[in-house]
């Protein structure tokens, strides 16, 4: 019963008492009528809740699919929800809300609807855009059943689970093949000339005969002219493999879906892969984070492309978040989520809280009450022992761990209060460079000729100590591979070279953006200087310029030019 219902019932009872005791019949009869009416509404409400509501059937279609499937980040999807009742219909007042994950952003329509009268069938739709790659889990619908007067209310959650793999977005960058014929050969799709000795069909150079050269490679006419045996050296014809090094460390996962540094990298990776595979070049990936490194072997064709996207999507699913200190906001966030997904478990009739004399302060008692309720719900979800419930109530670390796990499994993004968004700083970047260095070294050890390494990592923070990474990059360049470094920026755009504040009265947001721009610019120029010195290219942010730089380097690799170390 709501506060409104309790107040009216109390007033009616008082009216009955006064009316009967002081022999005021109209007063007594009026108050008793109100009481009887509330009693009838109470019975009707429980009838609706326990008899009608279980007969409600709900079906959800996401992009025409009623079970799971695959979606693409950055694209819209239509969600259609149909309700039907097997009996005579369900009465008012029923509020239905589809619990959408944080990865969904509603673009048109609404994910809620209201039933004002008895209804047997109804349908509502809305359009949502998927924000970022990874996973999208729709758990079900939250129902709020209320009588028409607002005296009784009850919440229920109906599970209609659908899980989708969200593949990263990519740009269809048009690769323009040169119209004018520069070479007098037409290599097959995916094969490119490399100006190194090999078994190709184009002549690279002539050299003096060395013992062991096959007789058919001797150039007899030239040998006759020079009066010494000369051997023909042919060019190599190799595919240009593109290897994407993707950084998935903590700093790249912080932020809302679609706003993470990892999302920038995924967009660049997807676009580059699309472009490379369309001209027949295989693309592979090395995905590294604190859990280790995972390799996706280079493959071509549409199947290879979607396999790569699937691997990237799986990688972009956030793992267990780093342990944080328990805070009130974390508990409130967990309680809000409990209220949304498990409202029936928070009812005081089933979720009992033991009575204690301490704490005495009403506010602390209320906090302890809420924390105990949350502990009971978490214990039921994770099937904990009763003593562990008490540990959740008293041990802050344990409660923080389970609350974080609960929020992370529900698809909450890595922002406050789940993960503290303090500046991760120097130490996290050091760990990233060590992981990246090891991944590059291992890849170079097993690499073939003429590969393009695209490194997408958050290196801005360790720009002053890039020396940990340089040996691995130098090794890759020495093996005649092309190296491109893409650093995603927090502002999602290249930092401006000129003075960023042009407004007369700048706001706090513009000042913060300008400060971030200046800091990023300074770090970026240091990093660029170091990388260009050794012969690697660098780009900032996940914009089109970064993609074009990578494609330009790939084109250079296809042209067969071999860059000397330190030169371009």
């Amino acid at each position: 019963m709501t506060a409104r219902g309790r107040l009216l019932a109390l007033l009616s009872l008082t009216g009955i008492g006064f009316g009967v005791y002081f022999n005021r019949h109209t007063l007594a009869w009026l108050s008793l009528t109100v009481m009887v009416w509330m009693f009838v509404e109470w019975l009707a409400f429980y009838w609706r809740l326990w008899v009608q509501l279980p007969g409600l059937k709900i079906e959800r279609l996401v992009g025409g699919k009623s079970t799971g499937g695959v979606l693409f980040a950055g694209r819209k999807v239509t969600v259609e929800i149909s309700l039907s009742h097997s009996g005579f219909g369900i009465g008012s007042l029923l509020h239905i809300r589809d619990c959408i994950p944080e990865n969904f952003a509603i673009e048109a329509g609404n994910n809620e609807c209201e039933l004002l009268t008895r209804t047997r069938k109804m349908k509502f739709t809305y359009e949502a855009r998927i924000r970022g790659a990874g996973e999208a889990f729709l758990p079900g619908l939250r129902l709020t059943l209320q009588d028409a007067q607002g005296f009784f209310v009850s919440q229920r959650f109906i599970a209609v689970e659908q899980r989708f793999r969200v593949l990263p977005a990519f740009a269809n960058v048009n690769e323009s093949q040169p119209i004018t014929k520069r070479i007098n050969s037409l290599p097959q799709h995916g094969i490119h000339r490399l100006q190194r000795s090999g078994m190709g069909s184009e002549l690279l150079e002539l050299r003096e005969y060395a013992a062991g050269d096959p007789p058919k490679s001797i150039a007899w006419k030239v040998s006759a002219r020079r009066d010494t045996l000369m051997t023909r050296q042919y060019e190599s014809e190799v595919p240009v493999r593109v290897i994407l090094f993707m950084d998935g460390s903590i700093s790249t996962r912080i932020g809302g879906f679609g706003q993470r540094l990892l999302d920038q990298s995924l967009f660049v990776a997807g676009s580059v892969a699309r472009s490379a595979i369309s001209v027949g070049d295989p693309v592979g990936a090395v995905l590294f984070d604190e859990r280790g490194a995972k390799r996706l072997p280079a493959s071509g064709g549409e199947r290879g492309f979607y396999r790569l996207l699937d691997g990237l999507a799986e990688f972009s699913v956030n793992p267990a978040p780093p342990q944080q200190r328990l805070s009130k906001t974390l508990i409130n966030a967990a309680l809000r989520l409990c209220g949304e997904r498990y409202p029936e478990l928070l009812e005081p009739q089933v979720n009992l809280v033991p009575f204690t004399f301490l704490p005495i302060s009403p506010w602390k008692r209320f906090e302890r009450f809420r924390r105990t309720q949350l502990a009971n719900v978490l214990a039921e979800i994770y099937q904990l022992q009763p003593i562990q419930v008490m540990e959740l109530v008293l041990d802050d670390n344990l409660m923080a761990r389970y609350a974080q796990q609960f929020l992370a499994e529900a698809g909450v993004s890595w922002m406050d209060p789940l993960v503290q968004t303090r500046s991760r700083g120097f130490h996290d970047a050091m760990a990233t460079t060590q992981l990246l260095s090891k991944a590059i070294t291992e890849t170079v050890a097993t690499s073939r000729d003429n590969e393009v390494y695209v490194i997408m990592a958050n290196l801005l923070e360790c720009a002053t100590n890039i020396s940990y990474l340089l040996p691995a990059l130098k090794m890759a360049l020495a093996r005649h591979h092309r190296v491109v470094v893409v650093c995603p920026t927090p502002t999602f755009r290249r930092p401006k070279a000129t003075a960023p504040i042009t407004e007369d009265s700048p706001t706090a947001d513009s000042l913060l953006t300008a400060a971030e721009d200046l800091r990023t610019k300074e770090l970026a120029s240091r990093l660029q200087r170091e990388l260009r010195r050794i012969g690697a290219s660098m780009s900032l942010s996940g914009e089109e310029q970064a993609i074009r730089l990578i494609l330009a380097e790939t084109q250079l690799a296809r042209n067969g030019r071999v860059a000397t170390a330190g030169g371009r």
């Binding site: 409104r4 009216l8 007033l11 009616s12 009955i16 008492g17 006064f18 009967v20 005791y21 002081f22 022999n23 005021r24 019949h25 109209t26 007063l27 007594a28 009869w29 009026l30 008793l32 009528t33 109100v34 009887v36 009416w37 009693f39 009838v40 429980y46 326990w50 329509g109 609404n110 809620e112 609807c113 209201e114 039933l115 004002l116 009268t117 209804t119 069938k121 109804m122 349908k123 509502f124 209320q146 007067q149 607002g150 005296f151 029936e344 478990l345 009812e347 089933v350 979720n351 009992l352 033991p354 204690t356 009971n376 719900v377 214990a379 009763p386 008490m390 540990e391 008293l394 041990d395």
Partner: protein, 285 residues
């Protein structure tokens, strides 16, 4: 708020507009607010007829009406009506029973329409002026799909009002019968030593209590048997915790204290015991 659709709608265009257009709930808000105004102004002349403060009374009722736009005023309206009934009626049976019956129905109807209007307004989650303004503009210049929605909903509102009126009438009759079933016993003073009205109040209270208790037990039995698996699990766990809460709290508090820096841990105790054993062994050798 969007997505209101009837089960009988077969026209695709109307169905689509119904699912996306929030006209229906705001139209209902407007209708219930108008009914509130009508009920107020019908009851106002009947309130406190023999006293000379019509103007302050009218202003107070208008203030309550305006307050309804912001807050639920059902209990305030009922207070005023109960006060009127207490003050103006003598301590005897009323002679104009039929007028009081209609008046009583109107009082309950006022509380009903006020409550319904506030519930719809709170669900809308918009400001009052926005909601009512939208509703008025829809009614004044409706587009073609809205005309059908408004017509459908007008019929539904009328039907719901008829059902509500019937229900209130039945409740009034039941209340009258309950009161009549406990008449004044003028011999109560000699029999039980109580005033007749006091005796009547106790008997009526007992009757109502028994009815409420039986209903409450029946409803709770149904609720108990309809618990979900998760609800049953959480109930069992929390009940068990309730029983041995003090013991568990003591054990866990000690564990946490032992695990804190500076506290004695199991490892440090074991290390100290081993050292002492070694020393004892050496000394014995």
């Amino acid at each position: 708020m969007a997505g209101f659709s009837t089960g009988n709608s077969t026209d695709a265009a109307a169905a689509e507009s119904e699912t996306n257009y929030p006209a229906a709930p705001r139209f209902w808000q407007l209708v219930y607010f108008l009914l509130t105004i009508v009920a107020c102004f019908m009851l106002l002349p009947t309130l406190f007829p023999r006293v000379d403060f019509r103007l302050p009374l009218t202003l107070m009722v208008l203030a309550l009406l305006l307050l309804t736009l912001k807050r639920w005023t059902g209990v305030l309206f009922l207070c005023v009506l109960q006060l009127h009934a207490f003050v103006t009626e003598g301590a005897r049976f009323p002679t104009e029973a039929s007028v009081s019956f209609v008046w009583g129905l109107m009082c309950v109807a006022l509380v009903v329409v006020v409550s319904r209007y506030r519930t719809l307004q709170e669900r809308d989650n918009q400001s009052v002026f926005f909601s009512l303004g939208k509703a008025i503009s829809t009614v004044r210049k409706p587009a073609l799909p809205e005309v059908q929605i408004l017509a459908d909903n007008l019929l539904k509102i009328v039907w719901q009002l008829v059902k509500t009126a019937l229900m209130i009438t039945v409740c009034a009759v039941v209340a009258y019968w309950l009161l009549s079933s406990v008449p004044l016993d003028l011999n109560a003073v000699s029999q039980v030593g109580l005033q007749p009205t006091g005796h009547r109040l106790i008997v009526l209270a007992l009757k109502l209590f028994i009815i409420a208790l039986v209903s409450w037990i029946a409803v709770n039995e149904i609720v108990w048997r309809s618990l979900s698996r998760k609800q049953a699990g959480i109930y069992v766990r929390s009940t068990f915790l309730n029983w041995i809460h003090r013991d568990f709290r003591m054990v866990v508090a000690r564990r946490i204290k032992a695990g804190r820096p500076g506290g004695r841990t199991a490892e440090s105790n074991a290390a100290e015991a081993t050292t002492q054993d070694l020393q004892t062994l050496e000394s014995s050798e």
